[in-house]
């Protein structure tokens, strides 16, 4: 295992784990959060609030099913509104989890060990939020299963040239793989919890989930291989998922959609917003659960750097997009840019440029990279910006396309908002539950970071 406490690349960095920890302390401190720590009022309040929002969402969905998508702001020409914007936004957020757990694993970035667990959890929850929207936005949601190749008495099948079908496969695969990845990562820790708790009931539950894991050397060997392979598979997968999502637009002929830059710039954007979300979760969590020892400045700073980097890629995407609008020499393409800059939705475009391009540049300054408070705000700003980016792509492109006669406007209704905010509630509720019932930091991987984990060969 790499030497985490070494001084890397000349400049002094905080360690990934504060000194003075042993196998025992690490194990106890993390598992105690789940096993012994009493439920705090803060938790109850936070969970209650987000649960309330979730209920709001369910209400909105119920009304949607009874009345139809007409309760939303969508129309002709703007056939896609909040639903798709939110879908892309959530999927994007999900990406950071996989990136941290898979890609950083392959890159042997051991600092990931303390954040990958809840990052992966975040991925799962984000994906489930995202997964709702494509179904809800259907005119006849109860027929969503027609998008899967299920044998049927009509002998009729999905149409595989449609990016939406690609989406179905990409997203469901992504969800499955992430879930598995997350689960096998949990097995050894479940075993730990099984052995730590004194509550018989819990012992059985954790015991079942641990599947009788006993840490045999052979098991560990296969385990590591499988874990590594999974990471190797998840890496192209995660890249493909947002690429496919970008195809939803890039394959269309709508000016503002039909762009080759989309795949890379969507993926970068996804990681961008994903890390923002990671930080927005990590910062409060490490504070409330006193995990500063495990989630150190080092993690904050590294995440900030990733955001800075991806942010610049996204910026490049904007530039190229604008350039192509001009360079294409096509009046419709050209008008897209004009419309973004001067059209009725110009404000959203300027706002997104500020949120995604201008403000995050402060991350060049170290202070903003390590000070949780600032980082939290910047992350928030980025999340808003990335949401706006999708809004601009989906709505602003659609509302004025080829025939001037069919131009229109899009105004979200209260149902749009209820559903969107509702999913945020759902996401948080799941997060709250997660930190209470599962170790939010991978205990066994933390152990490997300890000096005493070294096998000294004489």
């Amino acid at each position: 295992m790499s030497e985490p406490n070494k001084v890397e690349s000349g400049l002094v960095q905080a360690p990934v784990i504060e000194p003075g920890h042993t196998f025992a302390t690490v194990t106890d401190q993390i598992s105690s959060i789940v096993l012994t720590r009493p439920v705090s009022n803060g938790w109850v309040f936070g969970f209650g609030l987000s649960f309330l929002l979730t209920m709001g969402m369910l209400y909105a969905i119920g009304y949607l099913f009874i009345k139809g998508v007409g309760i939303w702001g969508v129309n002709i020409p703007v056939g896609w509104g909040f639903a798709i914007v939110n879908f892309v936004w959530w999927i994007g957020i999900g990406h950071a989890g996989t990136l941290i757990s898979a890609i950083l694993l392959l890159l042997r970035q051991s600092w990931r060990n303390s954040i990958n667990r809840f990052a992966e959890a975040m991925t799962l929850f984000a994906v489930s939020c995202a997964g709702l929207f494509p179904i809800l936005h259907l005119g006849r949601p109860w027929l969503a299963y027609w998008l899967f190749p299920i044998p049927n008495t009509m002998q009729y099948w999905p149409q595989f040239r449609s990016p939406l079908v690609w989406d179905v496969f990409a997203v469901s695969t992504y969800a499955t793989i992430s879930a598995l990845f997350w689960f096998i990562g949990l097995i050894p820790d479940l075993a730990t919890l099984r052995d730590r708790t004194d509550n018989r009931g819990l012992k059985i539950v954790y015991g079942m989930l641990a599947m009788g894991w006993r840490g045999s050397a052979r098991h560990w060997a296969r385990y590591e291989t499988a874990y590594l392979l999974l990471a190797g598979l998840a890496t192209p997968l995660v890249l493909s998922v947002h690429t496919v999502v970008s195809f939803d637009f890039a394959v269309g002929i709508v000016p503002g959609w039909h762009t080759t830059i989309f795949p890379p710039y969507f993926v970068a954007g996804a990681i961008y917003s994903g890390f923002a979300m990671v930080l927005m979760l990590a910062i409060p969590i490490r504070k409330f659960y006193g995990l500063e020892d495990f989630i150190t400045e080092r993690h904050l700073e590294n995440s900030a750097m990733v955001m800075l980097a991806t942010g610049l890629i996204v910026g490049y995407g904007y530039v190229i997009e604008a350039f192509m609008n001009w360079y294409a020499g096509d009046p419709n393409e050209g008008f897209v840019l004009w419309n973004r800059l001067h059209g009725p939705y110009a404000l959203s475009y300027y706002a997104l440029l500020f949120c995604n391009l201008v403000l995050p540049q402060v991350l060049w300054i170290r202070k903003f990279r390590v000070k949780p408070f600032w980082l939290f705000l910047i992350s928030l700003d980025i999340l808003v910006g990335m949401w706006l980016e999708r809004f601009v792509i989906v709505v602003v492109s659609l509302h004025r396309d080829f025939l001037t006669s069919s131009w229109g406007m899009y105004y979200p209704t209260r149902w749009d908002w209820m559903t969107y905010i509702g999913t945020i509630g759902l996401f948080l509720s799941l997060m709250f539950l997660f930190v209470r019932i599962l170790p939010m930091i991978s205990i066994f991987e933390m152990r490997t970071l300890l000096p005493e984990a070294e096998v000294k060969s004489e």
């Binding site: 009345k67 998508v69 702001g73 969508v74 056939g79 936005h137 008008f335 004009w338 001037t404 131009w407």
Partner: protein, 1006 residues
């Protein structure tokens, strides 16, 4: 089968309703045979559950049209959960009853429609039509190809009359002071008063009708007047032709009908005459003739000058359009009249008017005998009289202009006529007032205070006969519900005098009485039957043994041979100008009948309410049309709520800035702001009759307009009305050139068509099949009359969605007519472009549908499979033409039985959550193909017509088999003007356009 016929739906899943719905309604209908067949419906109509059913879930306002959703939506949801259980779209179907006749009529072949000729009458003028009938339910109005006044064309009013008949808000009973009564009780009730009048020779009886052209009805009235010699017959229509009449009197000293032949006209001068738009007598035929002569390839393309104040469809087609206030038009004409006589008291402003006049006059002079000067009904008598003289001087009379007897059977000055009546009512001379159709309480001139007179009770017995329990019915003691023309026997004259027999396609749904029956009853006939009355009259006209053949032929053809008026040779007297030399200051108000709902009589017709007005594309509303300059000067913005004041009367109206409108004047449309119209009409728009005085029926000066500061929602179906984008871009959506340019460079339009080999994939070979369907739309011919929209709506069971939904951009028209303005906003060029589905061969919509709900048929149709659609709306996003329509909510009315009877059984009724679009009337294709195949032949060219094509008065739409090089459509596509919309996208549309060619006068091109 009846079920299939009446309840086609895309989705078998949601619960079928237990309560009395059309299934059972029909069941009860089919019980009885031929003649009695309809009695059962009357009985049914009487039954409480039927009433309950018809009044169930009627939304209050049109905007809530969709709001009857919840319960059904919920059932659908239930259906959904069931559907999930299974693997297919549909769960177990419930048992479906099937109800045969007891005795089946011979001529009926179940499952095949039948066509009957009849005529739709508006303001006295008949449009001859064929009506399609499924199992004795009229479902679609089509033009009568044989009839010279139609040639297959119809107008929006005729098309929409189907909905008018099935309108559930129609008056369904006879009422006395609001209580339901039987016909018998009515007859006995009026017997008393009438017998009293007998003594007085009927001195106290006044009959108020609308314009009557029906010989039989006129005869009935005469008969009635014979019984009551002292009784008086008054005629009034708010949109009347008094000016035309007076003009004729001025010129010829007698009432004369003027008829034009545009097929022979090279130069047309329209003085405020919107003769291409529905509502203008003969417009259907005129549009056809005009379009024929408009063909740039014919070598004899016509040229049209239009002088008008408010942009009309005719103005849009003009090669040169002079914008003048209505009153200034009179001045302009006066000046022409005086022109010859030395010093002209009516100076023309040299810039526009004089230049225009000079060019136009020389042009006219150069085409003696092949030109037309036509004047609009709004112009004062003098202008008409002068036009007569001018036409005579141009030797047009007898070649392009003809004078005949008036179509109006009782040609009187209607304003005067009503004035007399009002005077008599005031004077208490009227004991019995019979209002036969019409709605004077709503639309009589404001200064007559007609409604108040009715209220005042100065008339002891007031009887109203009409289709609706409207504003007038409310103020009458008796209301007798009239039968719709599709329910009754009658006759009417077309603009050329030809009589059509009106025959019923269905027995009166609510046992209404036709006007003829009603008058006959008044005249003392007992239990009279329209059929006999009409026949009796025509027996008089055509005595002889062969009457039956004559009668059958008349019914079959749709007109009575030899009833057309022969042209008269008349000499127009010269007349002196009457106008004031200087154009009056102050702001003028133009009163015009509404392009969609006419004078208000169609206010409750949802199709017409939701039909975009030709120029502004507004729906469900009347707007105050203002020119950009005047708007600035009055600081008005579009959608401001303005207040008009005229002679102290104030009315509110929303502003719509109309490019090309004359300055210092505004245009308002009549017919809105009704308070007893029905679910669709009540409360829509603002009532402009309140400002309309008998002295100034069409144009009133001295209006004061102020901005209330409030805003008002106006629902327009068109996003943006020019082809220039704000970034300076110019999109050549409507390809257009002048005739000279076209001659120089004929292929200008087709340049940007990309070569076929440009595509990465090998194209699909459509030559394999015998047919490949295609369509051309001739932009030169299209006069923007909107007829195709309604025809499509009627043929394809297209729902209406209400103002609020239109405003959200959710209107459902499969076919829309875009109107584009180009150039100077003060007097822009305007173009119409009908846009149905382009049926692209490389359809972008198909590619992105995840469930394959929209895919290509082997004959190149872009099939839309409703029952497969899950509603991602991706196809619509990816459709560059935005012709796809989505059922965002449950727009279809599943409940109202009448509306179910109206539907076309051959077209699936779409439900919530599915996409829909133009199908090229695939149901018609399939029928014709099957018929042809049964006879072992191919479909002949022209045998198969889409709904829009069939009734297009201008013959602008041509549909057919492009695999057959000799087909008309193939020929047109081979022509130079043919081009595809957005060709550069390489969507390879099957629907292509013929570029618009203008024929401007070189002298004025500068």
């Amino acid at each position: 089968m009846k079920i299939e016929e009446t309840r086609k739906r895309e989705d078998g899943c949601p619960g079928k309703h237990e309560k009395l719905d059309l299934a059972t309604a029909r069941a009860r209908l089919e019980k009885t045979k031929g003649p009695e067949f309809w009695r059962s419906l009357e009985e049914l109509a009487g039954s409480d559950e039927f009433r309950e059913m018809m009044h169930r879930e009627f939304p209050k306002g049109a905007s809530e049209w969709v709001d009857a959703v919840s319960r059904r939506g919920f059932m659908k949801l239930m259906g959904a959960s069931l559907a999930m259980a299974g693997m297919t779209a549909c769960t177990k179907q419930p048992l479906e009853p099937i109800v045969p006749y007891v005795k089946q009529p011979e001529e009926l072949v179940p499952g095949r429609p039948m066509f009957y000729a009849t005529a739709f009458e508006l303001a006295g003028y008949a449009s001859p039509v064929l009506v399609e009938s499924h199992m004795y339910r009229p479902t679609k109005v089509e033009g009568n190809e044989q009839h010279s006044a139609s040639l297959g064309g119809t107008d929006i009013y005729a098309q929409a009359s189907i909905l008018g008949m099935y309108d559930p808000d129609r008056s369904q009973t006879i009422t006395n002071m609001g209580d339901e009564r039987t016909w018998g009780s009515f007859v006995s009730a009026i017997r008393g008063p009438l017998s009293v009048q007998k003594g007085l020779k009927g001195a106290g009886i006044r009959l108020l009708t609308q314009t009557v052209s029906s010989p039989t009805l006129a005869d009935q009235v005469k008969a009635f007047l014979a019984v009551y010699p002292e009784a008086k017959w008054h005629v009034y229509e708010p949109v009347n032709r008094d000016n035309v009449l007076e003009g004729a009197r001025m010129a010829f000293g007698q009432p004369v009908e003027t008829r034009y032949d545009f097929s022979k006209a090279d130069i047309i001068l329209s003085l405020d005459a919107d003769f291409l738009s529905p509502g203008f007598p003969g417009s259907i035929r005129y549009a056809r003739d005009y379009a024929k002569r408009r063909n740039p390839d014919s070598g004899t393309m016509n040229r049209m000058y239009v002088v008008e104040s408010n942009p009309s469809a005719t103005g849009a087609k003009a090669d040169h359009r002079l914008v003048l206030r209505t009153s200034d038009i009179e001045r302009f004409v006066s000046s022409i009249a005086a022109g010859s006589t030395g010093n002209n008291p009516y100076p023309l402003d040299m810039e526009g008017e004089a230049k225009f006049f000079k060019a136009m006059a020389t042009d006219l002079a150069g085409h003696r005998g092949s030109s037309i000067v036509i004047v609009g009904d709004h112009q004062p008598a003098f202008v008409h009289a002068f036009a007569h003289a001018w036409n005579a001087q141009l030797q047009n009379v007898g070649t392009t202009v003809f004078y005949t007897d008036p179509v109006d059977a009782h040609p009187v000055n209607q304003a005067e006529s009503l004035k007399e009546l009002v005077a008599d009512m005031r004077g208490g001379k009227v004991d019995v007032l019979v209002i036969l159709g019409g709605n004077p309480a709503y639309d009589a001139p404001a200064d007559f205070g007609f409604a108040d007179l009715l209220k005042s009770g100065s008339v002891p017995l007031r009887i109203h006969h009409g289709l609706y329990q409207d504003e007038t019915a409310e103020l009458c003691h008796w209301h007798v519900n009239a039968a719709h023309y599709l329910e009754s026997w009658g006759d009417a004259r077309a603009y050329d005098g030809t009589v059509s027999i009106v025959q019923p396609l269905i027995a009166p749904l609510y046992s209404g009485r036709s006007a003829i029956e009603f008058v006959a009853t008044l005249a003392g006939g007992s239990e009279v039957n329209g059929h006999e009355l009409v026949q009796a009259y025509w027996k008089k006209q055509h005595s002889g043994a062969d009457f039956d053949t004559f009668w059958r032929k008349s019914l079959h053809d749709g007109w009575v041979e030899g009833t057309g008026f022969a042209p008269k040779s008349l000499i127009a007297k010269a007349t002196a100008p009457t106008a004031t030399p200087a154009s009056p200051p102050g702001i003028e108000i133009n009163f015009r009948h509404d392009p969609s709902i006419y004078d208000g009589r169609f206010a409750n017709n949802g199709w017409l309410q939701e039909l975009p007005k030709p120029m502004s594309k507004l729906t469900w509303d009347s707007a105050l049309l203002v020119s950009p300059a005047t708007a600035k000067q009055l600081n008005l913005e579009t959608k401001d709520l303005a207040e008009l004041e005229l002679n102290g009367k104030k009315v509110k109206a929303p502003v719509w800035i109309q490019a090309g409108h004359a300055d210092n004047c505004v245009t308002v449309s009549l017919g809105y702001g009704r308070w007893r119209a029905g679910r669709a009409g009540t409360g829509a728009g603002f009532n402009m009759y309140e400002l309309r005085y008998s002295a100034t029926p069409w144009v009133a000066n001295g209006a004061v307009i102020s901005n209330t500061g409030a805003k008002y929602v106006l629902a327009s179906t068109q996003g943006y009305q020019t082809m220039e984008t704000q970034d300076g871009g110019d999109r050549p959506l409507v390809q257009t050139r002048s005739l000279e340019e076209y001659r120089k460079e004929p292929n200008f339009a087709t340049e940007e068509e990309p070569p076929a080999e440009l595509t990465l994939y090998p194209g699909y070979d459509y030559k394999k099949e015998p047919y490949a369907w295609g369509m051309t739309i001739d932009l030169n011919a299209c006069v923007g009359c909107n007829n195709c929209i309604i025809a499509c709506q009627s043929e394809n069971n297209i729902p209406i969605v209400g103002k609020e939904q239109v405003n959200r951009g959710r209107h459902m028209h499969w076919l829309r007519v875009d109107a584009y303005y180009q150039g100077d906003r003060e007097n822009p060029k305007a173009y119409f472009q009908p846009v149905p589905c382009m049926q692209c061969e490389n359809a972008p919509c198909e590619l992105v549908c995840p469930v394959g709900a929209t895919v290509h048929s082997s004959e190149g149709l872009n099939d839309m499979v409703y029952n497969r659609c899950v509603g991602t709306r991706y196809c619509s996003n990816n459709c560059p033409y935005k012709v796809r329509r989505f059922n965002f909510l449950l727009f279809q009315d599943w409940e109202t039985p009448q509306l179910k009877m109206m539907r076309n059984p051959d077209v699936t009724v779409r439900s919530r959550g599915v996409m829909e679009k133009c199908t090229y009337c695939v149901q018609r294709i399939n029928h014709k193909r099957i018929d042809a195949e049964r006879e072992d032949r191919l479909i002949a060219d022209g045998e198969l017509e889409t709904a829009c094509q069939q009734s297009c008065p201008a013959d602008a739409i041509v549909f057919g088999n492009i695999n057959d090089p000799n087909s008309r459509v193939a020929q047109l596509k081979a022509g130079a003007r043919n081009y595809s919309l957005l060709a550069d996208l390489n969507t390879r549309p099957r629907t292509t356009y013929l570029a618009e060619i203008r024929n401007p006068n070189p002298e004025l091109e500068a």
